[in-house]
C-alpha cells in the first residue's frame, strides 16, 4: 500500500505544484497575490471539459488529449485580458488595492463562468478512461495519474530551463529579485509583468484541465485548491519557485499519509505543519 500512498501524494503534489507555481511566478515578478487564481483554475477546468465533450468519445485519442491544452490556452487568454484591463492599472497602487482588485475579479469570474457554462456539471472522463490502469506491486493504479505527474514534471523542467537559460527568464528573475534595480537596467517591466501574469494564469488553467478527467467541472471548483495553494506558497516561501515544488510535495505527501494514518485531522494537520514551519522560519522554507 505504501507505494500507492506515495504515488497519491506525488499526484496531488503535482497538481498543487502547477497551481502554486503559477501563483508564485505572479507573486515573484509582480508582487501581486492573485486571489482570482482559483477562478482561472476553474476556467481551465470548464474549458477542457467543454471541449472534450464537444469532440466526443469517438474522436482520435491524441485529439482528446489536445483538448486538455484548451484549458491552458483559455486561462492564459483570460489572464492576458485581466492583466491588460485591470492589473495594469494597479502597478503603482498600494497593496490593498491590488488585493481587492483580484478579489473583485474572483467574484466576477465565478459568475462569468456561470453565465458561459451554466449551473450544470460537466463530466469529461474520456482521457482518464482511455489510459486504463497498470499493476504496481499488486496494486491497481490508473495510468492517468502517472500521466499528470509526467506533465507536471515536464512543465516544471521547462519553466526551470526557461528561467535559468533564456534571456527572458533571466530578466524575469531580475525583476523578481529587485524591481527598482531592474527598472534601472531599463528592462521593460510592463511587458515582463504581462508575460508573467499570463504564464501564471495559464499554469492554473492547465492544472484545472488536468483535474477534469477525474472530477466533474462544477461551480466553485477553484476554491479548495486555492486554499491549499496558499498553504504551499506560505510554506515554500512567497515568490520562490523552488518553494512551490517542495511545498507542493510536502503538502501532497503529508495529506496522503495523513489520511492513511490519522484520518481525523487531515486538514488541520496541514495547517499545523504550515504553522510550525512559519514559527521556525517566518519567511517560509525558501522565502527571501
Amino acid at each position: 500500500m505504501w507505494v500507492v500512498y506515495t504515488l497519491n501524494g506525488l499526484y496531488f503534489g503535482a497538481l498543487l505544484f502547477l497551481i502554486s507555481l503559477g501563483l508564485n511566478i505572479i507573486l515573484g515578478v509582480m508582487g501581486i497575490l492573485n486571489l482570482a487564481h482559483g477562478s482561472l483554475y476553474a476556467i481551465g477546468a470548464f474549458m477542457a471539459a467543454w471541449t472534450i465533450i464537444a469532440v466526443g468519445m469517438k474522436a482520435p485519442a491524441f485529439l482528446i488529449y489536445l483538448c486538455l491544452l484548451s484549458g491552458f490556452v483559455l486561462a492564459g487568454i483570460v489572464g492576458w485580458l485581466m492583466e491588460k484591463s485591470l492589473i495594469r492599472a494597479m502597478y503603482n497602487r498600494t497593496l490593498e488595492y491590488q488585493l481587492l482588485l483580484t478579489f473583485g475579479a474572483l467574484l466576477l469570474l465565478e459568475d462569468v463562468i456561470k453565465m458561459i457554462w451554466g449551473g450544470q456539471a460537466y463530466y469529461a472522463s474520456a482521457p482518464f478512461d482511455l489510459l486504463g490502469k497498470i499493476n504496481i506491486l499488486g496494486n491497481v493504479y490508473p495510468n492517468y495519474f502517472l500521466f499528470v505527474m509526467a506533465i507536471a514534471i515536464v512543465a516544471g523542467l521547462l519553466i526551470w530551463i526557461f528561467m535559468a537559460k533564456t534571456r527572458l527568464g533571466i530578466m524575469l528573475r531580475a525583476v523578481s529579485l529587485d524591481r527598482e534595480m531592474a527598472t534601472g537596467l531599463g528592462l521593460n517591466i510592463g511587458g515582463l509583468s504581462t508575460f508573467a501574469f499570463v504564464l501564471g494564469s495559464a499554469l492554473a488553467g492547465l492544472a484545472g484541465a488536468l483535474v477534469i478527467p477525474t472530477t466533474p467541472a462544477l461551480l466553485g471548483i477553484g476554491m479548495e485548491p486555492l486554499i491549499l495553494a496558499f498553504i504551499v506558497v506560505v510554506v515554500g516561501g512567497l515568490g520562490s519557485l523552488k518553494g512551490a515544488l517542495v511545498g507542493a510535495l510536502l503538502v501532497g505527501l503529508t495529506r496522503s499519509f495523513g489520511i492513511a494514518i490519522f484520518p481525523e485531522i487531515e486538514l488541520p494537520l496541514l495547517f499545523l505543519i504550515a504553522g510550525i514551519i512559519l514559527v521556525a522560519k517566518p519567511q517560509g522554507l525558501f522565502g527571501r
Partner: protein
C-alpha cells in the same frame, strides 16, 4: 473636554445631530430595514476596528473574520454550554476577552511581517481557525453552526420575547449606545499620541523606528485593538443574525470586511461606518434581484478600486471640496 467647548466645534455638533437622528431610526424604518440597519451598525463597529489596522497602521489583514467568529462563537457557545450565565453583561466581556486573546496570539505571529506577507499569513491563520471550528463539530456544530438565543439585558430576562421585538426594542438602543461609545473611543485613539505613532509607522517604518517607536510592538497593539473591535462587532452581530457558522472565519468573509472598509474609504475615520451600512444593503439587494449577484458586487468592487480609491466618504469629501472651489468662497475649514 468640556461639553461647551465641544459644541463650539461644528464637528461635534454634527456628531450630536447624527446621533439624535439615529435615535429616531426605529420610528423611521420598517422592521425589515431596521434589522438590516442593525447589521450595518454591527459591521460599522467591525469597520472602525479594521480601519485602525488598515487605514492608520497600514496593515491589510485578510483574516479578520477569525476575530469576528471568535466574538460570535463566544456568545453562541456560552448560550449552549452555560445557559445559566447567558446575560449580555457577561457575554460581551467574554467575547471581548477571547477575541483579544486570539488577536494577540495571531497578531504576534503576523506583525513579524508586513505587506503581502502579513496579509497572506493573517489569511492562513484565520483559515486554521476555520478548519478547527469545522472539525470540532461536536463542540461548535461545525458547518451547521449554533443558534444564538436572545440574552437577558441588565437582569431583565427576555424569555419568550421574539427576536424582531427584541431587535426593534431595547436592543437597537443598546447597540446604538455601544456603537457611539466605540466610535468616540476610536476617534480618541486615532487622534491621540498613540494614534500618531501608528500613523508614523504607516507612513515611514524606518523613521518611526528611528524616533524610538518600537514598530513591531505598536503594530501588535494596533492588531489587538482592531481584533477587539471586530470581536465586539461579531458578538453584537450574532444577536441580530441569530445563528453563527464556521463561514465567519473563512477568508471570503474576511474579504467582505475589507470590501466594506474600502467601500466607505479607509483614509477616513467615518468611512468604514458608511461602507458597512452601504455594503449590507448592496449585497442583500444584489442577491434578491439577480442570480448573478457575485458579478454585481465584484464589478462594483473593481469599479470602486479604479474610480473611487478613497471610497464613498472620500468621494463625497472631494465633491464637497470642488463645490466650495466653485463658489470660490474660502470658508474656514473646521
Amino acid at each position: 473636554m468640556h461639553v461647551k467647548e465641544m459644541l463650539k466645534k461644528p464637528r461635534w455638533v454634527v456628531y450630536l445631530l447624527i446621533f439624535i437622528a439615529l435615535l429616531f431610526i426605529p420610528r423611521l424604518l420598517s422592521l425589515h430595514n431596521l434589522m438590516l440597519f442593525e447589521y450595518g451598525l454591527t459591521f460599522a463597529i467591525v469597520g472602525l476596528g479594521f480601519n485602525l489596522l488598515l487605514g492608520y497602521t497600514g496593515l491589510l489583514s485578510f483574516g479578520h473574520g477569525a476575530y469576528f467568529a471568535v466574538g460570535a462563537y463566544a456568545v453562541a457557545m456560552i448560550g449552549r454550554y452555560f445557559p445559566s450565565s447567558y446575560a449580555m453583561e457577561i457575554l460581551l466581556p467574554a467575547a471581548l476577552f477571547f477575541s483579544l486573546l486570539l488577536s494577540i496570539l495571531f497578531g504576534f505571529l503576523c506583525v513579524r511581517h508586513t505587506k503581502i506577507f502579513f496579509s497572506i499569513l493573517a489569511l492562513a491563520l484565520s483559515m486554521l481557525l476555520y478548519a478547527l471550528i469545522f472539525k470540532l463539530y461536536y463542540l461548535t456544530g461545525g458547518s451547521d453552526g449554533l443558534r444564538v438565543p436572545i440574552p437577558s439585558l441588565f437582569g431583565i430576562s427576555n424569555a419568550g420575547v421574539r427576536r424582531p421585538a427584541f431587535l426593534s426594542g431595547t436592543y437597537y438602543y443598546f447597540l446604538l449606545f455601544i456603537f457611539a461609545l466605540s466610535f468616540l473611543l476610536m476617534k480618541g485613539i486615532v487622534s491621540s499620541p498613540f494614534g500618531k505613532a501608528l500613523q508614523a509607522i504607516r507612513d515611514n517604518e524606518v523613521r518611526a523606528e528611528l524616533i524610538g517607536i518600537r514598530v513591531r510592538r505598536y503594530r501588535l497593539y494596533a492588531f489587538s485593538i482592531s481584533g477587539l473591535y471586530v470581536g465586539l462587532g461579531g458578538a453584537l452581530w450574532s444577536f441580530v443574525n441569530g445563528h453563527v457558522t464556521a463561514d465567519l472565519s473563512h477568508w471570503l468573509f474576511s474579504g467582505e470586511i475589507v470590501y466594506m472598509t474600502l467601500l466607505g474609504g479607509f483614509g477616513i475615520l467615518e468611512g468604514p461606518v458608511i461602507g458597512a451600512i452601504i455594503f449590507t444593503y448592496l449585497k442583500l439587494y444584489a442577491m434578491s434581484n439577480t442570480e448573478y449577484w457575485m458579478f454585481v458586487i465584484g464589478a462594483t468592487l473593481i469599479a470602486l478600486v479604479l474610480l473611487l480609491p478613497n471610497g464613498v466618504a472620500g468621494a463625497v469629501a472631494n465633491l464637497w471640496a470642488k463645490i466650495k472651489k466653485g463658489k470660490a468662497a474660502g470658508g474656514t475649514s473646521c
